[in-house]
Amino acid sequence: MKWWHIALIICVGIGGIFSLFASAEPDGLERVAHDQGFIDKEGESSFEIIPDYSSPGIDNEMIATSIAGIIGVVLMFVLVYYIGIALKPHEIG
């Protein structure tokens, strides 16, 4: 196994398992928006794919979060991996 295989497994573990223990409390900005009365200005998204890191169509909230986390981690790795390849010098010919 290469180092990044292990690193990717760790990241999948963080996104898929550790994320289940994340606090559901509002974050710093949401807390301030709430306290200062501008939280209602938040607009509705015109579309939703995986809102709130919870995969749609899955009743079990934990599984929905876990799958969303794993999808996100793998997607990020693949996306930036290929951007890296695109930015690498290409041999001519």
Binding site: G28, I50, G72
Partner: protein, 209 residues
């Protein structure tokens, strides 16, 4: 600190988008043709790690949580420009796929939570490292500072949009992010020290600018 759509006015969103796009374009120019085979998996892993770690909201005070941002960490590994590309990708995916942070406010979010860490953070880190001769200390202090700076910029954008007056939003945002910044410092320090012990070679892949 992901700003949703609706908090910022059009001029502020346009301004932050322009700054962000200019920085990303320059980052691509600075990174193009400079990556080696060793950079490719490292960049992918950094993006995957930042995304995963950003999901972990940690309680910091009664009824408030915070999470890692990651800009300083990625810039320490791959430098400010490749780091900016990685962070931009994270916020783009979060907004488009996970509806975390607004689409229109994405320029502001990439700037506040990404570019402040990768650019300002990188240069502050480099200066502190020289002064203190200590990578870990410099990384920790800089990480904390960039979160506080990000919250100050976020406050300025909110105030300029007339969402909340500066004298109210700035102290509240900076106040809570002095706590949230501790999470940033802790995670950055743990990752850097772990990699220094196990694979120090991965910390010598900074893309030359």
């Amino acid at each position: 600190m992901h700003i949703p759509d609706g908090f910022l006015t059009t001029p502020i969103m346009a301004l932050t988008w322009i700054i962000t796009l200019v920085v990303i374009a320059y980052a691509i120019k600075q990174t193009k043709n400079k990556l080696t085979d060793a950079h490719i998996p490292l960049m992918g892993i950094l993006a995957a790690f930042v995304f995963a770690a950003q999901m972990l909201n940690i309680p910091v005070a009664a009824g408030t949580s915070g999470h890692f941002l990651g800009g300083v960490l990625v810039a320490i590994f791959v430098g400010p420009w490749a780091g900016t590309i990685i962070m931009a990708c994270v916020f783009i995916v979060q907004a488009l796929i996970f509806q975390d942070g607004g689409i229109l406010a994405m320029g502001a979010n990439i700037f506040n939570m990404g570019i402040i860490g990768t650019l300002c953070g990188y240069y502050i880190y480099a200066a502190l490292k020289k002064m203190a001769h200590n990578k870990i200390l410099a990384a920790g202090v800089t990480s904390w500072l960039t979160v506080v700076l990000a919250s100050a910029f976020c406050s300025l954008e909110l105030a300029a949009s007339g969402t909340s007056p500066l004298h109210m939003v700035l102290p509240a945002m900076v106040g809570v992010h002095t706590l949230i910044g501790i999470i940033e410092a802790a995670i950055t320090i743990v990752v850097i020290s772990t990699v220094l012990k196990s694979r120090p070679d991965l910390l010598s892949l900074e893309v030359p600018s």
